[in-house]
């Protein structure tokens, strides 16, 4: 987690984000994958709305996690719960649901604090170090963005249907990006391919 955040911080700094922008994004967004997605878009001067909509779509998986965690938080004051909600993240979710007992709210909150802290410190360390590297493309560092995306997909692919959805989305996006300027190919291809997949594939029993 710390290393992942350090890599992000370094890449964000090289993409021209200031230390303040990097710290703010970690504090108020705190969603690793979407922050990786946003940095090259911001660097390329994408309009804010395109980045925001893409962020929303990348983070839609949180709905799944929040719905799974919700029953464990019965009886919590709603004000606190609204704060805890900001901490919903992949790592804490994985840790909490991997335990044999039903997901414990305090275990979850503890892991959120740990993840949040290491994410922000890691990103700032990376940002300071990243500011020292000149000419990142010489070291292939611009390629780190697509590399992270491909690795994140590859670890999640379970069956043949997943491969078809991922490959179809990539090819569709390639076709759209070839002919249309801007960044909308990401959201269009992402929603279209996942939507078709969800309609055609057989849902697993919960």
């Amino acid at each position: 987690m710390f290393v992942y955040a350090t890599v992000w911080g370094g890449l964000a700094r090289q993409a021209g984000l200031s230390l303040g922008e990097i710290a703010l994004m970690c504090l108020v967004v705190t969603a690793g994958a979407s922050q990786f997605v946003a940095v090259p878009m911001i660097a390329a001067g994408a309009p804010p709305l395109a980045v925001i909509v893409t962020t929303y779509v990348v983070n839609m998986r949180h709905y799944l996690m929040a719905a799974t965690l919700a029953p464990a938080f019965r009886g919590f004051p709603r004000g606190w719960l609204a704060l805890v909600a900001h901490g919903v993240n992949d790592e804490s979710f994985a840790l909490t649901t991997a335990r044999r007992d039903p997901a414990g709210p305090w275990f979850f909150i503890g892991s959120v604090v740990a993840v949040y802290g290491s994410f922000i410190v890691g990103a700032l360390v990376g940002a300071v170090v990243g500011g020292l590297v000149r000419d990142p493309s010489r070291y292939g560092l611009d390629f780190a963005f697509p590399a992270v995306f491909l690795a994140l997909v590859a670890v999640q692919l379970r069956g043949r249907g997943d491969w078809v959805v991922a490959g179809g989305a990539g090819l569709l996006a390639l076709g759209i990006a070839w002919h249309l300027p801007g960044n909308w190919h990401i959201v269009i291809a992402g929603l279209a391919a996942s939507g078709v997949g969800a309609l055609v594939m057989r849902p697993e029993s919960p």
């Binding site: 890599v7 200031s18 303040g20 922008e21 703010l24 108020v28 967004v29 705190t30 969603a31 994958a33 979407s34 911001i42 804010p48 980045v51 925001i52 893409t54 962020t55 929303y56 990348v58 983070n59 839609m60 998986r61 709905y63 799944l64 719905a67 799974t68 919700a70 029953p71 938080f73 709603r78 719960l81 609204a82 909600a85 900001h86 919903v88 010489r138 292939g140 390629f143 780190a144 697509p146 590399a147 995306f149 491909l150 690795a151 994140l152 991922a166 989305a169 569709l172 996006a173 959201v187 992402g190 996942s194 997949g197 969800a198 309609l199 594939m201 849902p203 697993e204 029993s205 919960p206």
Partner: protein, 107 residues
């Protein structure tokens, strides 16, 4: 802080919070319908290649579908290593190294 970037970050924060808070605050005991769960699982699997493939094959908006594209080889290395259950960051580092080396040789 640049105003457009500030606006972008705050918008990202709101958009992300909207994916986290509603279902946690709803405190529902009822699990999501299976097909909805499937879709939510598939969305990132579709969005990430939709981002990555054009970055690899259309660098700067121009098609580069040839073996002389260093990023193509980097992408194959990343996918191969991750599929072989290598550490995620290690796979990324190997892909970056392949791209850097090929660029050193003038590709």
């Amino acid at each position: 802080m640049r105003p457009a970037v500030l606006l972008t970050i705050l918008g990202m924060a709101v958009a992300t919070y909207l994916t986290r808070a509603p279902l946690l605050l709803a405190l529902s005991e009822r699990p999501l319908r299976p097909r909805l769960r499937l879709w939510l699982r598939l969305v990132p699997l579709a969005v990430l290649p939709a981002l990555a493939i054009p970055m690899v094959l259309l660098p700067g908006g121009r098609p580069l579908l040839t073996p002389a594209n260093p990023q193509l080889w980097g992408a194959l290395v990343v996918l191969g290593l991750t599929a072989a259950r290598q550490n995620l960051l290690l796979s990324v580092a190997a892909g970056v190294a392949v791209v850097a080396i090929l660029r050193q040789f003038g590709f």
